[in-house]
Point group: C2
Chain length 476, copies 2
């Protein structure tokens, strides 16, 4: 075709990447098909250079295989409930653990401040919210991330010394993980509420629920949480924002032991009703189960596998197996989702909580195709749920040998986020999550979908290249 | 194109219907695409004539709407457990109810004979299987179909006078439905086993399980089974051969009331362990829930809606709303499925049991797209499960307003089989089911998929035309 013929035809344009070019053509009436494309590593040369140093590296592949194997061979077993002060390494009478990467009181968002206020009242350290704020701002409390102490906490993730915590033992690798018990929905500490009903509930959980469950768990000889999660994924859960099946299975498992525990009749009934009344009860078991499995995979030299995704409501932070002790952070993002009646995005705090440990372990947002009904809670269509899970295979190391997705012909869930694949493919991990009100004292306002900021992975790939980039030798 | 050119080209044939024509062409090397097509009503002129008399009939459409509304407005509530003799109309000390359409002892298949033998021993009427067979063959027992007495029974479906039965009350329309309690898998009466362990379990169920559950059910004030089923469909159940979620939800619901019932500690623990140990426990609640809803829809003049699909292991029988009191039968079919280790199709009895009441009510095989993981139990691929549900929309009246399928964007399940649509489209209802050994005394050998015989629907359409075909006037 001669050039002059070409220009006599109607022009149809295909635009790759930057949509700005397309809109100009469209404004003069040209039909444009826009293709959502970005160059690897968003085209940033220093990241591409880092990626090149870490690609086609059998030593890194072997390290990732080792990290993945440690995760996949882990059997997380619920073995006990203990007081945080008595069991979590690093807990002291003046320490509070919190969700996400490290931060100071000054940088804490509203819901986390609310939870700190509530925990100080619950601990008997303050009588009023004002007193509690004064105490916190004067440095009476040392704040540390749950994640650096084998623990995880949903939303604000505050663990104070007197709180009872589940103890999950990794039967294969010997490490333990810890998490508080789930309080239910609505006005609860983890979403930043601290009214009297919140404090009363926490005290009842300490005085009645924890001792009762402790007896039952000890009588059971330990409950294999990986087996419960595997079943729940075939029953419409993804064990982050949908835990209805897993809670039901846990209830079935524990109820006969609660009966055997010879508790006072009214307490037994109250415990059963409390668990039965909260379809999210299992969240605080799925999270430490994931944590126990992923902590075993942390600290494998040269591994580019992500072992933590977490948020403190101000920053998003990730940790990488081959770079133990380091955090890579960026700003916590706003959640796109469904709001409870009377609330809107203007009320929302940015992304918060350790619960993205589920996505890090190949469930949660990564397993949404197993939990189609969740779109009624977090928004979107069934096709979106399939799409999110499908996309995560592009940034993960392997298919999960324990957790599978029926609608994908029982394919294992996409598991083991590889920093290299995230950067190369410009695909960020898909997280689903609850939304907290941005002010202290209110509580949950919705649920939705969110991604980590790109900065976390950009920072991690640069650090990995610096540490392991030179011809495959660790620089120490 | 001239004829001579046509025959100089390579021949590609499209064959509609009868595959015999295709194989002849294929045998001489011609490429043939075989299209699975049949003329309406399988081309039988008398059926086409009947169909024509019943088509485009606003009066029949209105009758079907009325029948469907009676089904859809029904709220089946578990209100009690009673002794069959005390509560089921028509039960006498010498009556046994059985699954499927009516049949005599002589025509009973092995598993039903086995269950009759077991029930006679359980009732104390016979000491040995031989004694029991003599009694049964001498006419000491009157056999009647469960379905004609508001009852349903899985597999052999034997209900004898002393057996405790769930009482499900249709809160909207006032009718009651009844079903025994599920014994578990393996060697159980409903699959034709009658060994001492089977009898002992039945006696324990009568002596311990039934009184305990009765107290709890009464304390609960009634349990809405439609609400439990609706939730279970979003949790991977179709409540025929997959009842894991529904059993879990029922367990969660009833456990607090069992605790309140102040039973002896060992009995409470035994009851909880028994329900927890059997993921099919809810089947004997989903069945009478469906029965209660469908009985309300039975007996609407001119309605062509099917209100019963059931099998006695020898015959398959259906009942139609507009033709109360009549059965339309054909030979029970062999089930295509997965067999337990050590068994094969040679061991299998033809299709048996009242459990196809679930498919009649728009769940079971009709809702397999909500229960993808079931293919591991009944065979096939996830795509097959989607296909089965999809196809059922072609033979049903409406989408279910209470039960929905998440992967179909929460579309209601296909519900209310229309005899006219089955005959017109040559599509038979899709049933999934357990498989019993063909000999008395053995038990379950597998699970799979099956359809009713065509004869049931051919018979029904002729009877409908005879009754209602003349210009829309009932002949009385």
């Amino acid at each position: 075709m001669a050039i002059n013929e070409l220009f006599q035809q109607e022009i149809k344009a295909l635009n790759l990447g930057n949509a700005g070019f397309a809109s100009e053509l469209q404004s003069v009436g040209v039909e444009v098909t826009n293709l959502d494309w970005e160059p690897p590593a968003r085209g940033r040369v220093e990241l591409i250079a880092a990626l090149e140093q870490l690609s086609h590296r059998p030593d890194i592949d072997a390290a990732n295989q080792e990290a993945f194997n440690r995760y996949a061979s882990s059997v997380p077993v619920l073995v006990d409930i203990r007081r945080a002060l008595d069991v979590i390494p690093g807990m002291t009478p003046d320490t509070f653990f919190h969700a996400g990467p490290p931060l100071t009181w000054e940088r804490m968002p509203g819901p986390m401040r609310g939870a700190v206020i509530g925990a100080l009242i619950y601990e008997g350290r303050a009588a009023t919210p004002d007193e509690a704020e004064d105490l916190a701002s004067l440095g009476a409390i040392t704040f540390k991330p749950c994640h650096e102490h084998g623990a995880v906490g949903p939303m604000a993730g505050i663990i104070s010394p007197s709180m009872p915590v589940f103890v999950i033992h990794n039967q294969t690798h010997g490490n333990d993980a810890y998490c508080t018990m789930n309080e239910g929905l609505g006005k609860v500490l983890r979403f930043g509420a601290y009214s009297q009903e919140v404090i009363d509930r926490l005290r009842w959980m300490e005085r009645v629920l924890a001792p009762g469950l402790q007896k039952a768990i000890r009588l059971s000889g330990g409950i294999d949480l990986r087996a419960l999660i595997a079943q729940a994924l075939h029953m419409g859960d993804e064990v982050h924002n949908r835990n209805k099946a897993a809670t039901s299975l846990f209830f079935r498992t524990i109820a006969p032991y609660l009966v055997q525990a010879e508790l006072p009749g009214d307490e037994l009934a109250a415990i059963l009703n409390f668990i039965n009344g909260n379809d999210h009860f299992f969240l605080n078991l799925s999270m430490p189960a994931c944590k126990a499995m992923l902590d075993a995979a942390h600290g494998v030299e040269k591994s580019t596998m992500v072992t933590t995704l977490t948020r403190n409501g101000t920053d998003f932070g990730i940790r990488v197996s081959g770079l133990p002790g380091r955090w890579f952070t960026g700003p916590a993002q706003m959640v796109r989702g469904l709001y409870f009646p009377g609330f809107s995005e203007a009320d929302a705090n940015p992304d918060i909580g350790d619960s993205a440990i589920t996505e890090t372990a190949g469930v949660g947002g990564f397993a949404m195709a197993a939990a189609i009904a969740i779109v009624q809670f977090v928004g979107g269509k069934p096709q979106d749920a399939l799409h999110y899970s499908n996309r995560m295979y592009e940034i993960t190391l392997q298919e999960n040998p324990s957790y599978s997705i029926p609608i994908f012909d029982f394919r294992g869930t996409p598991t083991g986020i590889d920093v290299r694949k995230v950067v190369e493919n410009n695909i960020l991990p898909q997280i689903n999550t609850g939304i907290a009100h941005r002010e202290a004292g209110v509580g949950q306002v919705g649920a939705g979908l969110v991604n980590p900021p790109w900065e976390c992975f950009a920072g991690a790939i640069l650090a990995l290249a610096e540490q392991y980039g030179a011809g495959g030798e660790a620089k120490g």
